[in-house]
């Protein structure tokens, strides 16, 4: 179990254990603090399964959202298909469909397309009737999460899932699991829902799932994927349908994830330029990188190296990148669709 980790994370991991399965988990006491933490991090419906007398509004609402999203996604895929655009969705609905209905919020639509099709796909999305248009996060470049996979390969390995509303294409299971693991580390792992996603994916691996294909590519990223898999098994009781390679989760990884759960959502830090002196220290502290994202971004080894130098190096990298942007006068990357 979790040792030397913040209490809230320990409690949350224990309470979420097995809640993602069709069979209702055993009832247990859930504190108001735990429920609030679950509420802001998207696992409220899962946690409420531990509280038989509790309201089920989150579950009901998410059930409706999921049905609505499925219908809109099917319409979107039909429109893309009519324009001969190959696309695949991931996260969001692609994960919520694996849970019992209503247990996971669907969020927006993440859609992978080939870079050559991006503009065309954007036009197709924009042409959908407003009432039927999902909020699409079009991504032609998944390099942030999967730098070792080409868009063509990702799309070629994607699979079609039949739904009552029509076919929907989802990233292949191997790529999806890898992406879901690396995505959570990229964002510092603050959301317990992301580890539940890993658990659910592990328990729904299709026949013929290849761990070799999932772990193909950057060795360090693959180690990070395996650490997430190990944590989902250890904390949430996931039982993978296809046995993964042996994994030993590094102790720092466990503590970092628990600390991230405890801390929760991190707002973007306050700009330093012109900041009052009394707010300088917290603004600097807020910039200190978490060990999970720092390790991923720097491609640092998961073992043998203490995390402090990795975090320091990541801070320098971020500061350098920021300085370079300012020097070039670009500031923040211009937002597509933003007014000139």
């Amino acid at each position: 179990m979790i040792r030397s980790t913040p209490l809230l994370a320990v409690q949350l991991a224990d309470a979420l254990r097995g809640t993602f399965r069709a069979r209702a988990p055993a009832s247990t006491e859930v504190s108001a603090e735990l429920l609030e933490s679950a509420r802001v991090s998207g696992v409220e419906a899962l946690l409420r399964r531990r509280m038989p007398a509790a309201g089920r509004d989150a579950e009901r609402y998410q059930m409706l959202e999921e049905a609505l999203r499925e219908r809109r996604l099917a319409a979107l895929f039909a429109a893309l298909e009519a324009h001969r655009i190959r696309a695949a969705t991931f996260k969001g609905w692609a994960l919520s469909r694996l849970y019992p209905p209503g247990l996971r919020p669907v969020g927006d639509v993440d859609l992978a397309v080939h870079p050559d099709d991006e503009a065309h796909a954007q036009a197709v999305v924009a042409a959908l009737p407003a009432a039927e248009r999902p909020e699409v996060d079009l991504q032609s470049n998944l390099v942030r999460y999967l730098p070792d996979r080409s868009p063509s390969d990702l799309l070629a390995r994607s699979a079609v899932h039949a739904t009552a509303s029509g076919p929907i294409r989802v990233l292949g299971a191997e790529d999806h699991l890898r992406l879901v693991c690396l995505h959570q580390l990229h964002h510092g792992g603050w959301r317990p829902l992301w580890l539940c996603d890993v658990a659910v994916l592990l328990e729904s691996l299709p026949d013929g799932f290849s761990w070799a294909a999932c772990l193909d590519g950057s060795r360090r990223r693959s180690e990070a994927v395996l650490a997430c898999v190990g944590l989902a098994v250890e904390w949430l009781g996931a039982v993978p349908r296809v046995t993964p390679p042996a994994v030993n989760v590094p102790p720092w990884f466990r503590s970092a994830m628990a600390a991230a759960w405890e801390r929760g959502f991190r707002r973007s830090p306050e700009p330093l330029l012109g900041i009052p002196l009394r707010r300088l220290a917290p603004a600097l502290r807020a910039r200190w990188p978490d060990p999970l994202s720092a390790t991923l971004h720097l491609g640092a080894p998961l073992r043998w190296v203490p995390r402090f130098p990795v975090q320091l190096a990541e801070l320098v990298r971020r500061a350098g990148r920021h300085a370079l942007r300012r020097w070039r006068g670009t500031g923040v990357t211009p937002a597509a669709g933003a007014p000139a």
């Binding site: 998207g42 409706l64 209503g102 969020g107 999305v125 909020e135 079009l138 937002a335 669709g337 933003a338």
Partner: protein, 148 residues
Amino acid sequence: MSDTPKARQNGVLVQPAGDELLLYDERTHRAHCLDARAAQVWSLCDGQRTLPEIARALGPGADGEAVVAWTLDALAEADLLETGESVREMLSRRRMLRNIGLAAIPLVMAITAPHARAAVSTCSTVGQPCTVKPCCSGLTCSSSLICQ
């Protein structure tokens, strides 16, 4: 209230959930949950049956017309019937309560959306600022720098 109430189907997403019926009004973005009895009344509102006929179709022991009237009122209030006028004109809620008692009332509940932090995303969705992240596809950044 029409003599033959009709359940609104246009722009309403219907999702069965066990005994309950979940409804999402795509026009108002409001969600509702009908318990088993309210769901039964709603599904009997086909625009052909009158209130007494709906009560009869519910079967004996369903507490009769007062219960149906109560349910229709709640459905009308939630804008889930094609005819918007309230059944209150026919029977006041207070009188209905006297007739049927609290325990027998079918429930039409509004569902509150969960307030999870927005999933980390590379684009901003409706109502989010477009200053930090670009708007998602199909949305535009308004002059007030909000994605619409």
